[in-house]
Amino acid sequence: MRILDWLFGQRRPSSREIAKERLQLVLAYDRVKISPQLLETLKDELIAVISRHVEIDREGVEVTFTRVKSRSRLIADIPLLGARGQRK
């Protein structure tokens, strides 16, 4: 199937790449001792606090982890509503 992948320009990630990605994610959680449930709680509370001050797209809020080298990072992606003068 390598030839097909090559022909259609698709490249499936190797099992090595999958392993590396999974490890980085699982270790991000292990290291900071934050469970997915805690992440949900964080997300709910962030939404509550921020929407008190600005209008946000609650459905679009994402709280995730990334890791660069040995550093874990908590990333909150909070889309604002009413940008560009759409506000009434």
Binding site: S14, S15, R16, E17, A19, K20, R22, L23, Q24, V26, L27, D30, R31, K69, S70
Partner: protein, 265 residues
């Protein structure tokens, strides 16, 4: 003499701690050092069989810490190498038979007579592990290039840092050059990047290790084997020598070996 106490541990079971301890013991002894290898896996002793010394056990580590015999009486001398000794674990007791303080006292007793005390740690993060790292001056963490083993190694690194035993260094065991080449195994660089600790050795997967385990003759006694060379290189690095890492791409696979064989005539 002031021995250096080195604990070999891993978190995950079966990744090669006992194999590494036996072979590093042999390699250091062949370099002229006085070495004692200590099996701290009480209840599941295996270092004795890895070294082929299982028939010579009279006393064990618990007999020493409980005062039933003197340390000297429990040490078994490996006759194949100049100054290599084994302190076996007890097989009929459990991890609680020895405390971390016992281990510190025991190792202090050996510091004057040896250059190296190598402690084979049990798997896990419970008392057996705590016992094994209590006297450590240095810690070697063994992992294989697989997700569960690397994950557990990360946990161990955290615990060792918390105990202020670090920085630990890493041995990557059972690397398969063939699988790395085809993108089906984490590379050495991947594992180092993820764990962010120093590498001290890479041991290739080698059937000769299984054969040597079967026979009770550590592979490090064989001077024409790549896994053996990898252990000898770690021993030299422990002595402070700068030894380049084996390039796994140099390790020929079967077909390449066959081609070379034909070419050589």
């Amino acid at each position: 003499m002031a021995a250096m106490v080195i604990t070999i541990t891993s978190g995950k079971g079966g990744v090669g701690k006992t194999t590494a301890t036996a072979n590093l013991g042999v390699a250091l002894a062949l370099l002229g050092k006085r070495v004692v290898v200590v099996d701290s896996d009480i209840g599941l002793r295996n270092l004795d069989v890895a070294m082929g010394l299982e028939n010579r056990i009279v006393y064990d580590i618990v007999d020493v810490t409980e005062g039933y015999c003197r340390l000297r009486q429990a040490l078994i001398r490996d006759k194949r190498v100049s100054e290599l000794y084994l302190l076996p674990a007890a097989q009929t007791r459990d991890k609680t038979a020895v405390s971390p303080e016992d281990m510190v006292r025991l190792c202090d007793q050996m510091r004057d007579d040896f250059n190296f005390v190598l402690i084979d740690s049990p798997a896990g993060i419970e008392q057996g592990f705590r016992n094994a790292i209590a006297p450590a001056d240095e810690v070697l963490i063994v992992t294989t290039p697989e997700v569960p083993a690397v994950r557990d190694a990360d946990r161990i690194i955290g615990l060792i840092e918390a105990e202020e035993k670090g920085p630990a260094s890493l041995i990557i065991n059972r690397l398969k050059p063939e699988m790395v080449r085809y993108g089906n195994m984490l590379t050495t660089a991947d594992v180092i990047e993820i764990l962010a600790i120093d590498l001290i050795g890479i041991i290739p997967e080698d059937e000769a290790i299984i054969v040597s385990m079967n026979k009770g003759i550590p592979i490090a006694l064989d001077d024409a084997n790549r896994a053996s060379l990898a252990f000898h290189n770690i021993a030299r690095r422990l002595l402070g020598e700068e030894v380049p890492f084996l390039d796994i791409r140099e390790m020929p696979n079967l077909i390449e070996r066959f081609v070379r064989f034909i070419r050589q005539g």
